[in-house]
Amino acid sequence: MKTMSRKVKIKLFAQISEVAGKKELELEGETIGDLLERLVEDIVELEEVLFKEKKARSLKEDIIILKEGRNIDHLKGLDSEIEEGDKISIFPVVGGG
């Protein structure tokens, strides 16, 4: 089956954008997992912010990722597929009220 990379916009927030030194970037990938791999290749400082361990790619509990406004926890997690033009937003866990 032919798979295609799709270009999406990634928005970074709060401490994550401070670590990355930018608020927005564009990347290509097929799943959220792919995208994050590319993201930490691009900005290595984000690796330990986002992932628990280097090898076993599991997200830290204090990271929230939205795909088009939906938390990937309620989609397919890192396997959630992305579509061309999607907006991906990455947050540290926040609180308030």
Binding site: K11, F13, A14, Q15, S17, E61, D62, I64, L66, E68, G69, R70, N71, D73, H74, K87, S89, F91, P92, V93, V94, G95, G96, G97
Partner: protein, 578 residues
């Protein structure tokens, strides 16, 4: 000194001390205000009439050295909802009265027409002195003058210009640690209940001796340690965590990105402009202006969710700019400029108005054509209408529903007459269940489903899932218990995830009271508070048909997710059915 209840009789201007009856011994905060209101106020009483009462009660652990314990409840029958009201605030005033050994202050009766008094609490109870010189004055100035006259160390609770008009959106302002009128029992119009009794201010100086009795020091200390540890560990509440770094309005971006940040009177859930008023943006600005970044509402806080907002030159501090206020006076009115929002917030603090209700009121007036969405300048002029007590000002000060009716608007985001906070319930269903079913009218703090639905704190729940009755109920029970304890609700982020933190809360409460409540008892305690409140509301004329969201939210799809509020009525009713 034994703990006592102060009864302030405004009919004959006497302050009496009473022993704490056994039935109130183990209550505090919300549990105590709601119980006293249920026991003493006829549910059908007119909220501004002689039979309503205003009750202040610090929480059980307030005044101790436990972290985040500086909270106070104010209660009465609400002029806004017509039901029972508890409005919780963090302020040094809470500690001040707790350390005097005051378990509750009950204000009853009504002074002669046009007479207003200041209640000065002292060692022998308190005295009422003429306060008419502060009529028509803004609260910033009034608080400053009171400090000049009575000393820098006094803490104040005050009713403002809106309250003088008997307006349903009049809150009670309290001193913040800087002495400004920026801390509020904002919701539900309790300021009008206060002023309609003829009471303008309550003043307390913290005594040298702390009269909060701790029955079991050992258990208390153990608990305090556990709670402090949990707060220091949890990602939300720890130092350098998001709350500390960006304040509560760190939520602007995430709720906007989630499609649930209401804009222009709940007509869309997201707008790129919102980034202009986000917590990140605010922190950046505060740094530029040389302001204090992290700040606390009351002395014992270790989370520090607040910060001081100033004018552009770093002068004229407003006090805090909370998420809810930023949203209500900002995006919900199509206003995306922090300085305008800051001035609108200043006006609310000064006039004695709840920011959530006021923002919604302006938005509904915008919808009704009184002014355009985004017109901050005109919005500020409207605040002067209230200051001048004009007819228009009186309409606006009576809140969202009243104003909506006055301007023929059919999209009015209220439940039980109280306007919604900063989360649209259509794409975040659990918070909608709380808005609909809490005895308080639309209130996010009553059962903060946003934690599991958006933040994944205290479990993970899909915001689109409509089965939220149980989730909301559990949160409402836990909240009713925390609001009674004297702890700030924000400890919930840590204690929902870290068991030791929850144990710490229960241990400290047991330490103070000499009781042996278990963690399991917490929900039962909360449930009892809720039942007392619901019973009052029932007798006041509420039924399950009032536990509903406004019609337009079931009919009108909210962009960008294009969803309506589709939680079935049976699910809403399930919250209170066994």
């Amino acid at each position: 000194m034994a703990q006592r209840i102060l009864r302030v009789d405004m009919d004959d201007l006497k302050v009496k001390e009473e022993k704490v009856p056994d039935k109130y011994k183990n209550l505090g905060g919300r549990a105590l205000t709601s119980q006293i209101v249920a026991d003493e106020v006829p549910p059908r009483a007119h909220p501004l009439g002689p039979k309503n009462k205003l009750v202040f009660a610090p929480g059980i652990v307030t005044g101790t050295g436990s972290p985040n314990s500086g909270r106070l409840s104010a209660g009465g029958k609400s002029p806004l909802t017509g039901g029972i009201k508890e409005s919780n605030a963090g302020t040094p005033f809470a500690r001040g009265i707790a350390r005097k050994g005051i378990k509750a202050i009950i204000v009853e009766g009504k002074a002669e027409k046009d007479k207003y008094y200041l209640l000065k609490l002292d060692e022998s109870g308190g005295e009422l002195v003429d306060a008419r010189e502060w009529l028509g004055k803004g609260l910033y100035q009034a608080f400053q003058e009171l400090h000049e006259e009575f000393g820098e160390n006094i803490e104040i609770a005050g009713a403002g210009i809106a309250a003088e008009m008997g307006a349903s959106n009049a809150g009670i302002a309290y001193t913040d640690p800087e002495g400004m009128s920026s801390r509020y029992s904002g919701r539900g119009g309790l300021g009008a209940v206060m002023a309609s009794r003829g009471l303008k201010f309550v003043m307390a100086e913290e005594p040298e001796d702390n009269n909060v009795e701790i029955k079991d020091e050992e258990t208390f200390k153990e608990g305090k340690k556990k709670l402090a540890k949990a707060l220091a560990e949890h990602d939300v509440t720890k130092k350098d965590g998001a709350l500390y770094t960006y304040g509560t309005s760190v939520l602007v971006n995430i709720i906007n990105e989630s499609g649930g940040l209401p804009q222009r009177n709940f007509s869309t859930g997201s707008d790129d402009m919102s980034a202009e008023v986000s917590g990140e943006k605010k922190a950046e600005e505060i740094k530029k202006r040389g302001g204090v970044e992290s700040h606390k509402c009351s002395p014992s806080c270790i989370i520090k969710c607040s910060e001081i907002w100033t004018k552009e030159d770093g002068e004229d501090p407003v006090g805090v700019l909370e998420y809810e206020s930023v949203w209500a006076l900002g995006p919900n009115c199509g206003i995306y400029d922090l300085d305008t929002i800051g001035e609108l917030n200043r006006a609310c603090n000064d006039l004695g108005l709840d920011t959530i209700e006021m923002g919604n009121t302006i938005a509904v007036a915008m919808e009704g054509g009184l002014l355009d969405f985004g017109d901050g300048e005109r919005a500020l002029e409207l605040m002067d209408e209230i200051r001048d007590k004009t007819s228009l000002g009186r309409i606006l000060a009576n809140g969202t529903e009243f104003t909506g009716k006055a301007f023929g608007v059919d999209r009015i985001p209220t439940v039980k007459g109280q306007a919604m906070p900063a989360y649209d319930p259509r794409p975040i269903k659990g918070i909608g269940v709380t808005y609909a079913t809490t005895p308080m009218g639309a209130d996010h703090t009553a059962g903060y489903a946003i934690a599991p639905e958006i933040m994944g704190v205290g479990g993970k729940a899909d915001p689109f899932d409509t089965k939220k009755g149980e989730l909301s109920k559990g949160l409402q029970q836990a909240t009713a218990a925390i609001d009674s304890s004297g702890y700030c609700l924000f400890i919930a982020f840590a204690i929902m995830d870290i068991d030791e933190g929850m144990e710490g809360v229960v241990d400290t409460v047991n330490g103070v009271l000499g009781t042996d409540f278990s963690v399991e008892d917490v929900m039962q305690f909360g449930q009892q508070v809720l039942e007392t409140e619901r019973e009052f509301n029932k007798k006041a004329g509420f039924s399950k048909e009032d536990d509903r969201l406004p019609e337009f939210m079931k009919e009108e799809k909210l962009p960008p997710h294009d969803v309506v509020f589709d939680v079935p009525d049976e699910e809403l009713d399930s919250v209170w059915e066994d």
